[in-house]
Amino acid sequence: MLAYIVRRLFYALPILLGVNLLTFALFFVVNTPDDMARMQLGVKRVTPEAIAKWKADRGYDKPLFVNAAASGSGVLTETIFFGKSARMFAGDFGRAEDGRDIAREIASRMGPSLAIALPNFAIGLLVTVSFALLLTFFRATYLDFWGVVLCVAMMSISTLFYIIGGQYLVSKVWRLVPISGYGGGVEAWKFVILPVAIGVVAGIGSSARWYRTIFIEEIGKDYVRTARAKGLAEAAVLFRHVLRNAMIPILTGVVVVIPLLFMGSLLSESFFGIPGLGSYTIDAIKAQDFAVVRAMVFIGSVLYIAGLILTDISYTFVDPRIRFH
């Protein structure tokens, strides 16, 4: 397995390079270094000298990809792309355009993101799998029918509606928890409970319906009939046999997102005032902060690749027939 993981990690390098190149190209198609300078320096009294000074100070005064004026390897290395990308592969994200250390900012924002994302993921998975198993148990009954109708209705509603509606009902009308904000320590629960609850409820519809489909497909197989013929209770059939055999498609969708939990949620963090990485990314895009955008896209790619590798590894745990070569 180790050889497999090492091989996958080597495959990841050209992917990361490609993602970085694409991010760089797309960003600079839309924003020139002059635009970035103007965004950082403000709109009033910005002179061409101030822009030139800002660019020179941050290394944006060089050509993007090829420096025809340089000689030797400088043709490629004395460019904005090389200057901004090389250090990132060594894990040095540098500073944001406003001068603040990106790694430090990411470290401080990871906690709030995880405080929402982890319980949201764990509780959500538990609730949706349980609900899907329940529907499977009552398949072809009114409970199943109305359960599926409920799932379709729930997945048709925008997440924004859940957020605003949840804030209105729970925080404004019932006054049970703060509408927004974030705090550490023992009082953190009151800020986390509503976004987590909303995240779980908002995710039930699509996930439960998907899992139900998997379970229903699984429940018609011969081994299930055999299990029932042995006299096993239906709960035992579902949890011990059906769930385990349905794990491969579930893991495909679930494990890959585990590392991405670090990246936070763009919408929830914005509406609930959670100072996480989701809102950091949004702020950076709005502020045309290329350094942060590049770092977040890079981290996102790394985490996604890590998620895919983890997914592959997880298959071996649930299906002994799978082996890596």
């Binding site: 924003n31 101030a50 603040r100 401080s108 329940l134 605003i164 703060p178 239906e234 100072p275």
Partner: protein
């Protein structure tokens, strides 16, 4: 049943936790003399040399003290000393160094000298940069990365100190305007004015190249001839020529003190990597100091224990006494101990928390406008009953800003000073009904502009004398927009009868460049298209992103464009310069996006910009401004749009609030009735617990049939 027991226990726990379950603040803060406010955009810079935006100055103005400040209550805005003893009066000298009288012609003045005397005994907030050992040597001036291990914020340093404010600190900060690694937005402007600043910038750029990337550039090693120390508490600034508006700059954080040891402290290796910079942890002498800086979530200002003391003003404008704004006359400032600013990126949570009493004041977003205010019978703005019942107060003020549509005067169709082009611009100015725009799209929050000058700025004239005679008539004691027929006649005289070229019959098509163009802008742009259609002019809207738009304006590749300006200081020069020929965007990269050049206006502008509004020549200046404004109204390089109105709401427990668009150091004047706030919060935030019980019951109703069904199925026989 265990489930019911759990629900009951949860409800009991919630009830036991107190009445305000939705209180977003720590329990320990309850009942504290703390002001609660919100910010929407995270401040980028708190270093006074770079900070320029409104989001930033809300913090920096409470911490740093420039020598001057605006009087909190007087209107028109008046400068008063902050750390200075007096407001400096410029002395003028000719090229031979001979002193000239105050009313000497501007052309004869070679230099102006401002001498600022500081009040003695003013001390800085406690800070590790000032910590010294028994021998007087700084504790923290030789730090390396190893010693910084375990230190993540300024509060982690064990020792702090303070020292007296000195003239050298102001001089050091003025030199920082030219620092090559800092990007002061006013460097170019000040380099034109302060003697030797441009040369200092060049010298520092050369010096910085010899240093490592994080090496400290000790500015005391470099001379700035235009800024000199007279004695420990006095410094002198020498400007090229005459620049009466300079005094206003002395009230901005750009000219606040930065001690050399603070700059040295933050320049040590490893500091910037931990965000230990002046940009993150400002150091000042003001009434407050920043004790928590988490711009992603919360920023906290606390009372500076070393604040020199100041008393609440005892005079203001008419009406201030009746409004209770003089009740605290002579009392020591600041009134509050702490101000907590929470980040609210979305308007809905912000508004709801204000209504729950968790923010002391709030603006009114378009989402909450109808809930907050309504228009009275006479068109006046009133609070809704819901707001009145809560005791909320409304403050309105016209901001010293203007939003306008500029014509590119370099454009062959709408530009130039020819009679036909002028009449075309005048016709369009009449056709676009700004009053309707303000009513529909701004909920009445603005007043139509007659010239670039907003109310409150010297030169603004109210009433009949102040209307734009090209666009309005004075009828029955109020300005009335000229009928569309007048505009059509002007358009015909311009060579475009019925919107068609008199010679070729080609339709008149105008192009408007604007940013945005999303769903929210569509109705606005549709409305605008209809305004042009009144003259049979076809309007083509070219929406683009902000960068592209700015680029097009810079290159003069626009015909008609939207733009706005917020005043830096309350002087007409700060608005009229937007149309000065010397500021042409295409020619000089200045702020005159319309590229308007009229020698007559430029002559008048040059005259007025070097005059004072007060004193014996005030009337003369006013007359020149009125002439200049008349030229602008006739030439119509802009469609003078509107001056926006600020609507802010405040709870009944928040006292001494007065709309202030110039002075930003207003936190020290705010007073809070903590007991009244606590009482209201309790009354407004009693938790409603029955929904929890209802939800539990609902869940039970769902689970029960499932459980019954499960049991029945398990016990049933196979079919």
């Amino acid at each position: 049943m265990p489930f019911l027991r759990l629900v009951f226990l949860s409800l009991l726990l919630l009830t036991a936790c107190g009445s305000e379950q939705n209180d977003p603040y720590p329990l320990g803060e309850r009942g504290g003399n703390i002001l609660y406010a919100a910010f929407t955009e995270r401040p980028k810079h708190l270093d006074p040399v770079q900070s320029y935006s409104e989001d930033e100055i809300a913090f920096t103005a409470q911490i740093y003290e420039p020598p001057l400040q605006y009087h909190y209550l007087r209107r028109p805005y008046a400068l008063v000393p902050a750390t200075g003893e007096t407001v400096p009066v410029a002395r003028y000298y000719d090229a031979q160094g001979r002193e000239l009288p105050a009313d000497a012609p501007a052309a004869s003045i070679a230099s102006s000298v401002y001498e600022i005397r500081l009040r003695p005994g003013i001390r800085y907030q406690p800070h590790p940069a000032f910590a010294v050992d028994d021998a007087g040597h700084p504790w923290y001036d030789r730090l390396d990365r190893e010693q910084l291990r375990g230190i993540d914020k300024v509060a982690d340093f064990a020792k702090t100190g303070s020292r007296e404010l000195l003239a050298d600190d102001y001089i050091y900060q003025i030199k920082r305007l030219a620092h090559p690694r800092l990007h002061s937005p006013i460097f170019s402007l000040m380099a034109e004015r302060i003697v030797g600043l441009r040369e200092l910038g060049a010298t520092l750029r050369t010096a910085a190249k010899t240093l490592p990337a994080d090496g400290w550039l000790d500015l005391d090693r470099f001379q700035l001839p235009g800024v000199t120390r007279v004695d420990s508490h006095t410094y002198r600034i020498v400007l090229h020529g005459k620049y009466p508006q300079f005094a206003y700059w002395l009230a901005m954080p750009f000219f606040a003190p930065v001690p050399r040891e603070v700059d040295r402290f933050y320049s040590q290796p490893g500091m910037a990597e931990k965000n230990l910079t002046l940009d993150w942890y400002p150091v000042g002498t003001g009434p407050f100091m920043l004790t928590e800086n988490n711009p992603n979530s919360r920023m906290v200002l606390e009372r500076n224990p070393n604040f020199h003391g100041e008393s609440y003003p005892c005079d203001g404008e008419a009406g201030d006494r009746a409004a209770g704004l003089l009740d605290d006359c002579g009392k020591a400032l600041p009134f509050i101990d702490k101000a907590v600013y929470s980040r609210e990126k979305e308007s809905i949570p912000y508004w709801n928390k204000f209504l729950q009493g968790y923010y002391d004041a709030s603006g009114i977003s378009s989402d909450s406008y109808d809930q907050a205010v309504r228009l009275g019978v006479g068109g006046d703005v009133q609070l809704t009953d819901e707001m009145r019942e809560k005791g909320i107060r409304l403050l309105t003020s016209v901001r010293p800003s203007i939003f306008y549509q500029g014509f590119n005067m370099l454009d062959p169709v709408v530009g130039g000073l020819s009679e036909s082009a002028t009449k075309l611009r005048q016709a369009v100015s009449i056709a676009i009904d700004q009053e309707e725009f303000i009513s529909i799209f701004m909920n009445g929050r603005g007043i139509a502009a007659n010239s670039p000058l907003p109310p409150g700025i010297f030169g603004f004239v109210d009433g009949e004398a102040g209307i734009n005679p090209v666009v309005y008539d004075w009828v029955d004691g109020q300005a009335r927009r000229k009928p569309i027929e007048v505009a059509k006649k002007l358009l015909a005289e311009a060579g475009w009868p019925n919107g068609r070229n008199a010679r070729s019959g080609e339709p008149l098509v105008l192009y408007l460049d604007t940013t945005g163009g999303g769903m929210g802008d569509k109705s606005r742009l549709d409305w605008l298209t209809r305004q042009f259609a009144k003259l049979d002019i076809q309007l083509v809207v070219r929406s683009t992103d902000y960068n592209r738009f700015q680029n097009k304006v810079r290159k003069g590749a626009v015909q008609l464009f939207y733009m706005g300006w917020n005043a830096d200081y309350p002087d007409p020069e700060n608005f009229l310069f937007l149309l000065a020929g010397s500021e042409g965007k295409v020619a000089t990269g200045g702020e005159n996006g319309a590229n308007y050049v009229n020698p007559e206006f430029d002559r008048l502008f040059e005259q007025m910009k070097n005059m004072e509004s007060s004193g014996p020549r005030g009337a003369e200046r006013l007359a020149i401004i009125r002439q200049a404004v008349a030229v602008l109204q006739r030439d119509a390089p802009w469609i003078y749009g509107f001056h926006p109105k600020n609507y802010t709401l405040g709870h009944v427990w928040l006292h001494n609030r007065k709309p202030t668009d110039m002075g930003n150091n207003t936190l020290k004047y705010q007073r809070i009735d903590v007991a009244a706030r606590q009482e209201s919060r309790q009354a407004w935030n009693r938790p409603v617990l029955w929904p929890l019980a209802a939800m539990a019951a609902g869940l039970l109703l769902l689970v029960l049939p499932a459980a019954v069904g499960y049991r029945r199925r398990e016990r049933g026989t196979a079919r």
